[in-house]
């Protein structure tokens, strides 16, 4: 390996990007037009654009999830929150006289976002104040929230016909889908909030060692509360996108299992589930990888019966390639150096002994 490539190979994002490139390449070989982008009524149009647009909601949810996971928590309720926020917004719009009115749409969004924030606060209180384990605390809302969403829609699919709302999912801006900009904006916002301020470091510190952070004067509880609220807000916006994308709110299907995808994206991106350091750019790549995987299944016309097997293989391949231990073993075979420690210190969280 030349000295030039080495730092590149060592970069955290190298392998996720490599995986993404390989998947895109495989698709292009299967269907040469896969990567082509064309101009159509002033909009860019093509599979890569589809992937970006479709991954936007997942990116949003995963951004919030990254923060939650960084504190050592997990948020299973995001899917339900997507469904609830989408349902509230669509319900409000569908009942309005003029669905295209900008005011109606803004009110709908504000209402839905408000409710989502309340739900996030509920999760936050359960975890940080009452001290319930995050997975169970958010499981409550995962189950009940789906019911709430269906209560709002009364089990029906609410179809709306609102230009401004539709734009959230399908509108264009500078020839690109608006959804991409919204996701990008959210990513930049989260990045600014965490990396331009000290918030990111404080979140990582709480996730790394909550007691030590408390003794250093950090209000750990407040931070934990905050990340759940942030996660809910992200999920709400994702919910708008999902429902706007099909101009209808489906209390049952909207955001179903998105929590698993989001967690997967976060973990592929390099953030450990045990908490601590988080990587927003990695998360975004993870979301893109997952969406590309789904699109690949459709584009290569892999039969639904075997689609899951294909997914399993790709997920495990992605993770193996990324695992430093795997690469170390692989390299060792080539160079014959002695084995690394049986377990890398990176994963093992420093535990509280006293």
């Amino acid at each position: 390996m030349s000295e030039r490539i080495k730092p590149l190979l060592g970069h955290r994002l190298f392998w996720p990007i490599a995986v993404l490139v390989v998947m895109l390449a495989a698709n292009t070989i299967y269907r040469p037009g896969f990567l082509s982008i064309e101009m159509n009524n002033g909009h860019l149009y093509g599979t890569p654009i589809d992937i970006l647009r479709l991954s936007a909601p997942l990116i949003l949810v995963a951004l919030g999830m990254t923060l939650v996971i960084s504190t050592g928590g997990i948020d299973l309720s995001v899917g339900s929150i997507c469904a609830i926020s989408g349902a509230i917004a669509c319900l409000h719009i569908s009942e309005a006289a003029d669905q295209n009115s900008f005011v109606t749409v803004s009110t709908a969004l504000a209402m839905a976002l408000g409710v989502a924030l309340v739900l996030g606060a509920w999760n936050g209180v359960l975890v940080s104040v009452i001290g319930i384990q995050p997975i169970i605390a958010t499981l409550i809302l995962m189950v009940a929230g789906r019911g709430l969403a269906q209560l709002i829609t009364e089990g029906q699919i609410i179809t709306i016909n609102s230009g401004p709302y539709r734009a959230i999912g399908l509108g264009h801006f500078l020839t690109l889908p608006l959804a991409i900009f919204i996701a990008l904006g959210a990513a930049l916002l989260v990045a600014a909030f965490t990396r331009r301020t000290a918030l990111g470091m404080i979140i990582e510190s709480v996730g790394g060692n909550r007691e030590a952070s408390r003794l250093a004067g950090i209000r750990s509880g407040r931070i934990v509360f905050l990340v759940y609220v942030a996660s809910a807000a992200c999920a709400a916006i994702a919910g708008f996108m999902m429902t706007a994308n099909v101009s209808s709110a489906d209390g049952n299907a909207a955001g179903l299992w998105v929590e698993l995808d989001a967690i997967l994206a976060v973990v592929i991106g390099g953030t450990a589930l045990a908490g601590g350091r988080f990587y927003l750019s990695g998360t975004i790549l993870g979301a893109l990888i997952i969406q590309t995987l789904t699109t690949t299944v459709y584009a290569m016309n892999i039969s639904p019966q075997t689609a899951l097997l294909f997914k399993a293989v790709v997920v495990i391949a992605v993770c193996l390639i990324q695992a430093p231990a795997f690469r170390a073993k692989f390299n060792r075979r080539k160079r014959g150096t002695p084995p690394p420690p049986a377990s890398s210190p990176q994963r093992q969280k420093e535990e509280v002994t006293a």
């Binding site: 384990q133 997975i135 169970i136 789906r146 589930l273 399993a312 993770c319 990176q346």
Partner: protein, 329 residues
């Protein structure tokens, strides 16, 4: 100065404190049962309790395996799919005409093999359990639809007997064979955790993996073992499920992993590992079972209200459990 207030208390007073969360859970469960009895007349039938066990036998077995995994601080998302895959494979092989015993052996080998492989990936390549077992989940579910995209009936004599044999008073109250198998698994699980080296290593790794390594414990072997055990329990659960439904269906058990994890955690096991009991897990499964039974008995809840009420009951239960736990800390 008074120093009387400073005594920590004798050792016997400290010991049960560890059991307080489990005892609180038990008490709350009894309260919930009492509420059911006071509200619905037929709830007091003994058979209702038996039914909770009959209907949750496979869940219980899977939850025992999950308890091992969670005690080490890991997680196994593949259980629901492995259960489905085991049932599916059994049904498929039986349909192909293989003898029941052979099918049983094959079906019971698949789960642990997959678990072992996942454990190896987790240990040797240092990949997070969440991802590895998620891939395992995709794989096992994919195998289900791959084998057949519609459900396969089981007509084998052995299976039918196991499914329909009633132990107890045939006309009156009874349990199924599966319940006895589930109890056996629970007892073995509890024994292994409390009295064998493997069991104690599981707790040690959950307490602090790095320390466990430096204390010279076989961390890798144990880690692989728990995923294998969880795979085995899922396989047994899958067999029980195939007794229960006398078929293999590709979509069965979707989301079961969440129920199982919830049961384990409600039973007092800490998700970060190191503390919890199989007995608590049994209680956790019963809590979920009783909640479901309460809702069915009510019979007036709309589809979405069902979900909201399940969430609400879960919340009330966990809140009380937590508050009692804090009080006694």
């Amino acid at each position: 100065m008074s120093s009387t207030s400073l005594t920590t208390g004798p050792s016997w007073a400290r010991l049960p404190r560890r059991h307080v969360p489990v005892l609180a859970t038990l008490a709350l469960l009894l309260v919930m049962y009492a509420i059911g009895v006071s509200q619905y007349r037929a709830f007091s039938n003994v058979q209702v309790i038996f039914n909770v066990f009959i209907d949750n036998g496979f869940l219980l077995v899977v939850a025992v395996g999950m308890t091992f995994v969670i005690l080490t601080g890991g997680i196994d998302l593949s259980v629901g799919s492995v259960v489905a895959m085991t049932a599916m494979v059994s049904a498929w092989l039986l349909q192909a005409g293989l003898p029941a015993l052979l099918v049983l052996v094959i079906a019971l080998l698949i789960g642990p093999t997959l678990g072992f492989l996942m454990g190896c990936a987790i240990h040797f390549f240092d990949i997070q359990p969440f991802i590895v077992t998620l891939a395992g989940m995709f794989f096992a579910r994919g195998m289900c639809t791959f084998i057949s995209d519609s459900s396969i009936r089981i007509t084998d004599g052995f299976w039918t007997t196991m499914a329909q044999h009633r132990i107890g008073n045939p006309g009156g109250n009874f349990v199924s064979v599966s319940v006895l198998i589930a109890f056996a698994v629970v007892l073995v699980g509890a024994y292994v955790l409390a009295y064998t080296r493997l069991g104690r290593n599981v707790y040690a790794i959950g307490g602090n993996p790095q320390s466990a390594l430096l204390m010279g414990l076989p961390v890798g072997r144990t880690r692989i073992a728990v995923y294998t055990i969880s795979g085995l329990c899922s396989a047994i659960g899958g067999i029980l499920l195939s007794f229960y439904t006398l078929s293999g269906a590709p979509l069965i058990g979707i989301g079961m992993e969440l129920d199982v994890i919830a049961a384990v955690v409600i039973g007092g096991t800490v998700l970060t590992g190191g503390s919890g009991y199989v007995f608590g897990t049994v209680l956790g499964v019963l809590v979920l079972g009783v909640i479901q039974t309460l809702i069915t008995f009510d019979g007036s809840l709309n589809s979405w209200w069902t979900k909201i009420v399940i969430g609400g009951l879960l919340f009330a239960f966990i809140l009380l459990q937590r508050l009692i736990g804090i009080r006694y800390k």
